[in-house]
Point group: C2
Chain length 135, copies 2
Amino acid sequence: MFFSIEPGGDVPIYEQIVRQVKLAVADGVLVGGQMVPSVRQLASELAINPNTIARAYQQLQTDLVLEPLRGRGMIVRRDSVSRCTKARNSLVGDAVRRVLVDALSGGMTPEDLRELFEAELRRQAELAGPNGSTK
Amino acid sequence: MFFSIEPGGDVPIYEQIVRQVKLAVADGVLVGGQMVPSVRQLASELAINPNTIARAYQQLQTDLVLEPLRGRGMIVRRDSVSRCTKARNSLVGDAVRRVLVDALSGGMTPEDLRELFEAELRRQAELAGPNGSTK
DNA sequence: GGTCGTGTACTGGTGTCATGGTACACGGGT
DNA sequence: ACCCGTGTACCATGACACCAGTACACGACC
């Protein structure tokens, strides 16, 4: 119900979990105080070894996004929203920067880039459906 | 003189070589028939093992960008320009798509993205200097 | 023909990732 | 008090990518 994982991709599984959790918090899908699925439960849902999930949660804990409650589970820290939006901004910012460097050094013009950008934006918008965000 | 490599990055060295060669061909910095630096020469320039360069050149050879001349070196295939521009387009297209997916699922609005995009575009433009391409 | 430089193949070391298994400490529920 | 579920820790294993070192085969050039 929660995440979509593609194993064998160029990004490790545990990092996919980390990123999706952070993005969900930034988006407001995960709110402060809310509990995240347990290590074993999410592991069985995604057909992944619990150790891999644990590694992702541990990373999220050191990033001050999750907080452990011994014996109960892990909850989203109430002050993690700003951190996650910040992380999201730097994430997409760096990605955009890398894309621009490659595209410009490859001879693409700013006009080409704007066109491609808008085209992909429309594509994603209509792929998400005519409605807005599904909250 | 040719390439800039950052070891320890998330992208392998040999792939950085491959991409930069393709982008240079797409941009017209490398023309068909032109020779590329030899494996050992480029390796000593970048302080990299020759085998890594060889792997990149081999990849470029299977991608029909370079052509080996036994005993002399490797040259850029004359029909590789269209292939490289195509590769560049799909490269930046995929990257833009991935960025958009992450950004939208993280709650960013299309307006946020346009703003960020234009900001980074201006940043890159002025970072490259007031003049245009340096051909 | 010999030397040089070219690309290429083979081998090995190293690090990361994912998995599996086991065990432990803690707290909530009955 | 007792079990159960929780996160956590540790070790070992297999697979895979990256990279370095070395040696080889081929062709140009003198």
